[in-house]
Point group: D2
Chain length 353, copies 4
């Protein structure tokens, strides 16, 4: 089989860098163009010197008439608002699309609207007609639909950890879905490559904080996915925090356990749910997990616990925000969309320490 030709749009950010790291080593795919509107003309290895000799393609302006266009798939590693304007023209040409932003994480304009409002986009979706055909790119929940679509909305990093951590409990009715709290902690790389006061080393190295309390936009896709699993509308409390590390999301989810449930039934339900999922590992209370266990890899580790004194389920779910939370999920989705084994190019343990 010929290699899948990948066009990477928004290649200069961390999301682009992550995709390059994974795809330069993929047996059945190759990056054929790096597209960006900044740093145009520079080899990407000037921006990310560790790529020297592995990927030295230059960044090409999308408006450049010589910009390559013969891709099998494009990755939009771009902020909200870019993919929704451009995806259509690629799809028309038969090119599959995977978008990192929230542009295609919702299937109808109304649902998208709540999310859009939260991130300060007042205008409606630029391509509402594409929404019904888009699929939420979390293979553990939507593998089959991903297989049959050509348009995937890659999930938000926090949402990956929250959804994977809670899906079995919600699906199997282990908990009261009306009282879920997700307390999320993320490393700084989740904020991207652009310097900002809160990510300045001296301001961050010995500081942590909650932010967007009760107002983070990822709550919409978490609620949507959990609602689909529950068969009813669910609202959750979601609080993100930034802590001074680079890679990693740890979400501690709390919910009242339903009668008759215990650590055994819960662990069994989780193991059943993820039985066919290479990239999810389930652990009981005896094996607490640290974020470094998934650092640099596409795995999500889930640790199941019960607070007997209050009857609550406490699930700790951990991912690398830049891999399973972003580029790794994108490659996993690409594998599925092209009928490959979904683990191609992704079976790495990461790096320790």
């Amino acid at each position: 089989m010929d290699k899948i030709k990948v066009g990477l749009i928004g290649a200069g950010g961390y999301g682009g860098c992550g995709a390059i790291e994974l795809l330069q080593n993929h047996p059945h795919a190759e990056i054929t163009a790096l597209i960006d509107t900044q740093e145009v003309g520079k080899p990407v290895s000037d921006l990310y010197p560790h790529l020297t000799g592995f990927c030295d393609l230059p960044l090409t302006d999308p408006a450049d008439p010589d910009c390559p266009r013969d891709f099998h798939v494009v990755f939009f590693a771009t902020p909200d608002g870019v993919g929704q304007k451009e995806a259509g023209s690629w799809l028309e040409k038969g090119v599959k699309v995977i978008d990192y932003s929230g542009d295609f994480r919702f299937n109808d304009p109304e649902t998208y609207q709540g999310y859009a409002k939260r991130i300060g986009r007042s205008a409606g979706h630029a391509s509402p007609e594409l929404l019904p055909r888009s699929v939420y790119g979390l293979p553990e929940l939507h593998r089959e639909a991903i297989q049959h679509t050509d348009l995937v909305g890659n999930p938000g990093c926090f949402a990956v950890a929250c959804n994977l951590g809670l899906a079995p409990a919600v699906r199997s009715g282990l908990i009261d879905p009306g009282s879920i709290i997700c307390d999320a902690k993320t490393g700084v790389s989740g904020g991207g490559k652009t310097p900002a006061p809160g990510f300045h080393y001296p301001a961050r190295y010995d500081s942590m904080n909650a932010y967007k309390i009760s107002g983070h936009q990822h709550v919409y896709e978490i609620e949507r996915q959990l609602s689909l699993l529950a068969g009813e509308d669910i609202r959750i409390t979601f609080t993100p925090h930034v802590v001074p590390l680079c890679r990693g999301i740890l979400v501690t989810s709390y919910a009242p356990l339903n009668d008759g449930q215990n650590i055994k039934t819960v662990e069994e339900a989780y193991r059943d749910f993820y039985a066919g999922d290479t990239f999810v590992r389930v652990f009981g209370p005896d094996k607490p997990q640290a974020s470094v266990n998934v650092r640099g890899s596409n795995f999500c580790n889930i640790s199941i616990n019960i607070d007997d004194r209050t009857g609550r389920l406490i699930v700790v779910s951990l991912i690398d925000n830049l891999v399973k939370g972003q580029a790794g999920s994108a490659v996993q989705n690409m594998n599925i969309m092209f009928g490959l084994d979904e683990t191609e190019g992704l079976l790495h343990p990461g790096m320790y320490p």
Copy 2:
């Protein structure tokens, strides 16, 4: 007035170091002996070279007959189990006692027992007769009792942040006290000075984890203090996490808001509650707080938020675990016990960045 003579027992650990930093600068107190069973004979400035010229007292073995004993107060900066054995003999001599451990945080043997079991102490309390006279050393809750006692149980670091974060809400009936969740994040210095695999730099610099899920011993003193405030028995869910920074505790507390409460009534209740407390600062949702805002100081910053979508109060409380969470509270308690202004020696902003 003559200076208060302080004997510091367990001087070689971080808790001792913190007390020395504060007391070497205290206008009305002075350390007259450093007592420890390790590194005996060494000047403390060999262990903590930044103290060179500020405090060069040697560590003295408590069994040494020349060990000074003419103190006005002793600080037990020791682990659980030490103070309960030795406090009595100091009290008999008219020396006041402030104990950092859990030995004197509970007023009766039964309550202590739950705590003791959790930390793996099967034997009963060594001096049960002292418990009724001990006071829980959180001045914002027990200032008057501290003033009149000679035996203070300095609170646990997590407990300081949880209790201060929730006290006004529980006291004023703003929330349903039966559904409280405290999600706590601590810096690594909370684990003390002794090297351990989980605090080894390479293992920790890019990793975070929950630990003792549903099993941390501080939950007992949090529940006890909140129960006293509520006038009813309260059980909470408390989950501690370690994140890779040195100083700081951030606790995110969640509870369902009672009918009729809103951000205005809540903020007012908090401001009222802490009106006379120099070391507690209350902030509304417009001024989110980071742990670095209290780093190196004796302050507790509290940020009040409401999740309108789910009707939950979300309180973020922040302290420096080594100051307000330990040595700072001890000095504050000492000030009160000796009739000084409770802020003496503690009015420092900390250091930034």
Copy 3:
């Protein structure tokens, strides 16, 4: 005595913050205005929340007619080029001036020119007539002159560590001054408060690099001071590196030892040289020093070593770049200029860990 009224120009940066931390606690000085052209009108405690309650003065635009002007001294915590334009008008009014930048570190326009060229300033000095009256603000070398001037050029952070590390050796002829190499390592706070790609947490937390190799501007003031001490023109090799910590400069200086010198003669010479200097501590090879030993304090620790195999002196000098390397030196200079004990407000051990 009335308190010294300090006007702090460029108050919003780390250099301003450091001065506020020190001066809010100074027994004989007080900040009476914070002047800056950015964030005008905001209380400084909005920028640096740890200052809340300690200093809540607003930032005032220097062009504002209501901007206070009745100071005894102004600190220019500003970049190169600001102080040289404005110092004159303050001096005329009898206000003393301490400038953080390189504007007044050289006594004649020619010497300044080399420095100016290196930092990309092609224009000459704006107030050449002031240069002869300025004094290089390193009290350990120029205490008496500082006492008698009203214009001090506060030294560069690297230069403090290099000059203090080498002064005794050069002055006493212990080494060949023609072969000096200074290998400097600095924490990230030396780069200031403004976010930049190289100081972005994810880019920096696990990375170190040399920069401005053979081209850093501080080399000029190091060479000038060492030349004055040697009585001959000295050129050195100076290489700065950034490493991922916040506060601290460690300089490792190398030079061939002259005949007849050994660790004993060297240590003696160093102890003699710094006999009257509270803020310099000299250590022999048996007491290696870490940067944390001076973190948060105004001390410079110097560790003396000899490589017997190659006959080289190896001096490790350590400072906190934001204290002895900046605001601390400024306050020390102020104390001297006003006839106070030079240690006023500066005798703190810093904070550990």
Copy 4:
């Protein structure tokens, strides 16, 4: 071809972990046993959970009669003193040996003796008869000899960076080899997996220090390799420092440039010298390098600079201490010893950020 069977002795440390990460992905080699005297019986993925599913082999006691022995090669990822006792018996059975320690970095007992004394081993080498047959495992200097030996002494991490940084200059007579200074900075992982006071997170996160000043044992193998290249006895000054990051060594080497040399001749000499070396990248002064550029990879980046003012060559050489400085070099050596392309299993860019 059948896969090379690798026995990994001392598998539980960072050196073992690094070898597992590389070999689990090697197309022509496989680990068939993990041997250690600690944590015996545990799957290595209990010690290093990120390896779960990639390598779950248990640690086997070498004294266990069931411990596998049918290897093609053994890696001694053990401290000094282990390999020299056991290598002989493996070699006799036709098993090749790669030793991480200093046991086989010198070819005769006398040269070894200097090194041994430095690390506090008073006894002589346990197998002096093996020394002449051992090869110093730096392929860029000894590729051919490595190809023909069955016993490789893997180089010390600092020595890799120093030797690669200076080899072309010494070999081509660009510098005065009598005045070389190597100022080395290492991340904390170089200290290994065992917790120690200096590597405890709170003690390390904001601190740096020089150590073993003029006394680090790696100086012997650096001097030996440079002496071989120069054809004369060379002594250098070598000062190691620990800085608070995890992975990376940066060595800044200084030496007086010989007459007639300039940046052009030097850069050319370096490019020529490393023309056939995949894992060495040479950069001019316009492309300064950071340690993160080689983090997680087997590359050594070398940056060439000249200080025109003093006529010194300044070379900055950077490696990942755990890859090119340890496990990566070992695998590279294995590849060469078995006639494979030396890059097999090693062509990864590492991970960023």
